[in-house]
Symmetry: D2
Amino acid sequence: MIKVGIIGATGYTGIELLRLLLRHPQVQITLATSEKHAGKRIDNILPSFSGATDLVLEELNDDAITSKCDFAFSCLPHQSAMKHVAHWYAKGLKVVDLSADFRFASAETYAQWYEPHSKPELLSKAVYGLPELYRDQIKSAQLIGNPGCYPTGAILSLVPLLKAEAIIAESIIIDSKSGVSGAGRSASVDSLFSEVNDSFHAYKVGKHRHTPEIEKELTKAAGQSVVISFTPHLVPMDRGILTTMYAQSQPNGPKDTASVLKILHDAYKNEPFVKIMPEGILPKTKEVRGSNRCHIGAVYDPRTNRIVIIAAIDNLLKGASSQAVQNMNLMCGFEETMGLQALALLP
Amino acid sequence: MIKVGIIGATGYTGIELLRLLLRHPQVQITLATSEKHAGKRIDNILPSFSGATDLVLEELNDDAITSKCDFAFSCLPHQSAMKHVAHWYAKGLKVVDLSADFRFASAETYAQWYEPHSKPELLSKAVYGLPELYRDQIKSAQLIGNPGCYPTGAILSLVPLLKAEAIIAESIIIDSKSGVSGAGRSASVDSLFSEVNDSFHAYKVGKHRHTPEIEKELTKAAGQSVVISFTPHLVPMDRGILTTMYAQSQPNGPKDTASVLKILHDAYKNEPFVKIMPEGILPKTKEVRGSNRCHIGAVYDPRTNRIVIIAAIDNLLKGASSQAVQNMNLMCGFEETMGLQALALLP
Amino acid sequence: MIKVGIIGATGYTGIELLRLLLRHPQVQITLATSEKHAGKRIDNILPSFSGATDLVLEELNDDAITSKCDFAFSCLPHQSAMKHVAHWYAKGLKVVDLSADFRFASAETYAQWYEPHSKPELLSKAVYGLPELYRDQIKSAQLIGNPGCYPTGAILSLVPLLKAEAIIAESIIIDSKSGVSGAGRSASVDSLFSEVNDSFHAYKVGKHRHTPEIEKELTKAAGQSVVISFTPHLVPMDRGILTTMYAQSQPNGPKDTASVLKILHDAYKNEPFVKIMPEGILPKTKEVRGSNRCHIGAVYDPRTNRIVIIAAIDNLLKGASSQAVQNMNLMCGFEETMGLQALALLP
Amino acid sequence: MIKVGIIGATGYTGIELLRLLLRHPQVQITLATSEKHAGKRIDNILPSFSGATDLVLEELNDDAITSKCDFAFSCLPHQSAMKHVAHWYAKGLKVVDLSADFRFASAETYAQWYEPHSKPELLSKAVYGLPELYRDQIKSAQLIGNPGCYPTGAILSLVPLLKAEAIIAESIIIDSKSGVSGAGRSASVDSLFSEVNDSFHAYKVGKHRHTPEIEKELTKAAGQSVVISFTPHLVPMDRGILTTMYAQSQPNGPKDTASVLKILHDAYKNEPFVKIMPEGILPKTKEVRGSNRCHIGAVYDPRTNRIVIIAAIDNLLKGASSQAVQNMNLMCGFEETMGLQALALLP
């Protein structure tokens, strides 16, 4: 049983951590903070938790966190996260940070896409929290940079194909579509129901901050610098990211769909949370909603010699909070799937 | 560990039973039927279950059911249900029937709103599966008529107020709003996305078949015949029923909101799945989505001397499948909350 | 050709006025204001108007309005509206005010539900802008208080039944359901897509400010004081209000559905924008979306002797902006239906 | 004034034709057919038309069509369309066919992606009904093959860039996202609200029948054979297609966003229905919903030397029915924009 703090508990990723951890057999939530609702019972702000907790939301106080918790999840915004996390880290807490602050080994890359990093000395201590790629390092890490929502599906899909030299790195195009919860829970005209409902659009074309995070992992897998086109879109739905990826097949690469799927299947056949769809079945976001799953499908198109790979995740779960819990399970020596067995809520 | 069959596994209530029971610690699903998809693996039809089961869907065969199962959930349509259930019952299986066929003690009432009943002798054996009202009878029952989706919230809200003689029975008006999954998973123009999205309407005004089911329980609670106005509406959402109820306060009835809430709170204070909202908080369907909860709120309006009571459930869960599992837990001597602890999926 | 100003042009009712009036054959929009976007071209803020106008949004300036416009639509919030409208009115402009400030003859009623009124002397000059009830007064009015979104459907439905002494005034219950655009276009957590999508709830039970507006008109029609129960709900859709109304039939009132429909049909048979559904057909909000229509259906329930009346409007159109244009047409001697002939956008 | 028949009037494209043509100043609808609802008044089936027409739906009868109509819109399925259209054509009617049957000059291409063509002799008579490319031919045509919903936005976006030799034809990738109305109004489990709501997926990857229609026009523009990757997706919304297109900039092609936009702007500066978004603004489907518009935006990404072009249309309007009316206006010598001036319905 570990004592866990959720820092920033009333945003969407914080709410999901509450939901998952209140039912986790090895966790006791000892502290939850909220700038906006400090002093109020969680179940007064979020009635879905009535009867499940008597916890009162607190203001963010680093000393309270380090004295009450063994483990902290930070749902703070980037830049704010690094300052607080550094304090907890120094006191020996294990930390999963859900911001971008500890996702990059290079302070320069971070500075280029975000702002300058004030705790660069911590970057080499942090492990990128994608268990399917870095399980062993995560097990012994004290600090995890939890992946961004868009990168999770893209990286899981493309890394095995790059490692297998199946696709041409220069040709990769990533067209992603996300549910609105990805925009967070702050008041904003752009995320009002009547603005986004029954509508669809792209945003930040060529400029989204998840681009370097994806490129970093693809570069490692390819053994060469990979530069991608990445276009995010907003879907009028609560949850889910579907990522459609295009890449040219290498001259010696796969020339039918079954061969593409075999590479993916071989890479993930023992993974509890990554499922490769059989030929002819393509993933739907609803089929992973509420679960810690990533579903991947693929099609080889002989007309263009292109491979189309499609990945679906729940952006708040495998794209954020349940992936964070998966990391916690590994860091604490619990069963990796503990508290994460829920199947998708359908319909 | 019991051996369970799900009869009609690829409709929405069947899918929810699969989801819940595949993760239930005391259940082994030994059989699942589907008229439409017999012979196919469940996870080919429903990829959300990939990796969670190797089961192949079967045709409905009563002998297979009685030989492979200790317990059966019937998701068959009414009339078809009674025939098959009678067979399984005779062979000693415990059964929860999700149709209307075993919800009425009176074959006449059933005949008046549905069609004539072909197994009237079974009606006295069946228990109405609303655990908060009939827990003890359910524990010893072999056959349960699982409540309809609309009645669950309405009955749970009004019964305590009638028993407390707080409201005038003749004045009850029930205005209900349901998500589209309540219409089932059969092909139909009326349930197409583009027909119901961004739209709202009432249907079957004064004629809906859940009317007598509600009246039957209110009549018992009131100790006098209760006739209600009941109007169902369709909401462009997947899941959830919000029921808004109006009733005149008795001359000696409650004259403020706190008094109304006290009656409800006293009735349900020990119930794991019924939560009374504090004054000033009204239930939202999303706050119970994915859970076995019923949330109830109320307001007393001094201008009209009317009490407004509002109940929210997930129509596929407390309104159908998780309530069925709650009944199973009681019938089999398991912990009542086993496998039903999930908190609402929000957002 | 009249010169028209839209004051508050980038909220939802302002956007609808722009859309309607840019295509109105007798209107030239000479001014549009926006607190937030002053100085920017309309089509930069609202690309749906690209190519349709070169207008630049201005700050609110009463002198600019009175010098550039013959006619003004105010989409300002209540309290702010009354101050500015008084100025324009004094300069001879014709005005339709879409706030609550000129809907009440009684400054006391206004003060009781809103705040004290600072221009009570104008209340007797203003006409309540429901053309089906007050067409003649509107034609000669200089100032219109445009009805609230909820009252329009409720009043149009109940007034003929009260005038015909068909229903018992004390028994009226009004259960309304509105799309999210009714909450306006200001940043707010409660109206975020992920908060309201796939959810349904009631709000301001017994306290909504449209209550006295409805009661005022019902009282006039009944010739006696009418006090109602009114419950608004939020539907996860952009537009539309469906109002479900319950009332006891008078002892000599209608005892079948056809008789109820006849009263309504007789009242509106010459109205271009109010349509009574034939027996067996109930209105859907989508069937009036994008139009200036009010569709009304009804059912008499012999079991309870209650009449259920159901009305559907587009809350931004017949519930706000197109009703405002209908009023303008009457005030300016144009054809009443000019610019308002669009049929519902379906699906 | 022309006498117009709508053949297949109760599907989504037929409903839109009814809506537009009932308000078109030069059109009298003399006939409307419906296989399913023949014999019933239109407004009984579609109450949004109550008060707007007394027309009764008829069965499909070629002789009735040719005797009652000067002009026919066919909303029949492909294969069925060609047989009936040939009959009307022979009798001298002008026809816009909304199926795929007259979109291809080559019977072979049609046969390869659809089925063999039974009226190949008519293909050379038909004009592809994209007015921005073929205005002059349309003016003198008797038979129009109205474009598919996906091709309209893709072709309008890419043709000017290919003609200007701005992009490399081999590199074109087209990732499209459509609202659910594109799937039509037939009963189907896959289009049920609860299947597609809050979900997103791709379908027919590399195999969709609109592929050759796009390739045909791009090939003409490029002066060389163009083979594309085309991936359609389903968005949980009623209407709208957003198409995201990727292409490498030619060595001498545009190297900033302004240069890309200039090519597009020059191509469409006099077009009433195609609007190029200024730099920094990207189209949203809701901003064209209910209009005959195509909005196009673009971004040049120097990191990859790729151009990303994004087009938004209403799939039922510029993607089907209002484009058909635009063609009718041209064929009949009416003002091209007649009856098509409506601005987008927002929100």
